[in-house]
Symmetry: C2
Amino acid sequence: MDAGQNSKQLFKLNDQATTYKRPSLQELLERNAQRAQDFKPILTFDDMSNLPVEKQIPMPKIFIVSCDDPRIIASDFLGLKQWDAVVATGVAGRIAHQFENMLFLDHFLHFEDIMIIHHTNCSAGIFKNDEIHKALEERAPGHPSIRLPGYEDLEQSVRDDIEFVKNSPLVRKELADRTTGYIYDIHTGKLNPVI
Amino acid sequence: MDAGQNSKQLFKLNDQATTYKRPSLQELLERNAQRAQDFKPILTFDDMSNLPVEKQIPMPKIFIVSCDDPRIIASDFLGLKQWDAVVATGVAGRIAHQFENMLFLDHFLHFEDIMIIHHTNCSAGIFKNDEIHKALEERAPGHPSIRLPGYEDLEQSVRDDIEFVKNSPLVRKELADRTTGYIYDIHTGKLNPVI
């Protein structure tokens, strides 16, 4: 698909859908109230540490950055069980936006691996940073430039993100060395490593 | 629970768990290969726009920021169906780390609501930014200060994040006005609005 106006028309077209009605925020809050009625309390960290050692759950050692596109659910395509990994999501799965989050968690979890996962047909590859920067500049002229998640080339975006981690002096070297990148193919469901 | 050393011991304790073996990165990749064997291709944006209008799915209008703690699954406690909302996750659900992501998506999705969701017993309330800043400063002296997700007060962290959105000239006023905050209570499963 071409970028720009076509993409905008595409998203407008989808907005005319009639079969499925989008829930309002109020409806989401009602769904939560409904679900809370037969809710089983989640264990606190204290609760967990008070279990006998053999029943405790080991803390996650893998930090995953993936896209917040609702079609892309890393826990599903990786078959994650609770605590297998931390999954941070944002547009395209760019590490820059999750970097301080990762550093914070790494301080006490001591991650062993960082997995950076981008995917085919990502909106960040369809829309362009330039267009959005221009629109934001019009909205708030002179505002300092910000780091948007869009990219020109899918594989290169993964490589750039791996380099981002490896080039930061804030990351432990052994963790930087074990930072790997992948492209999730929405046609095959396969995670393809980016070398 | 007290902060600092106690929390560190807590996470070490959990690391001795024996019943559940944490999967390696290689095992996660194998789980993906397994799941890809009977995978049904996901529709691309083009595929979706080529469906008859009544069968198309309306694009999401709610941007949710929530925690990447594996116990806290916003799509579960809000009963989200595919495309009901975009859920961006990071430590504690702090908006600062998702801000450019939100601006990027808002450019073509035109969100109607932003929901900021923090939760009880969050590691970002247990660990302190100061401690982590100090450790990072030792690792890379003189590195520019970064914005860590930890907070001192749970309700205030939600209010601060709402203010962060409302105070930015980069956010459309109608969206800033409809930015709301919540605390998810892991004992009750209820989402409590923060006023």
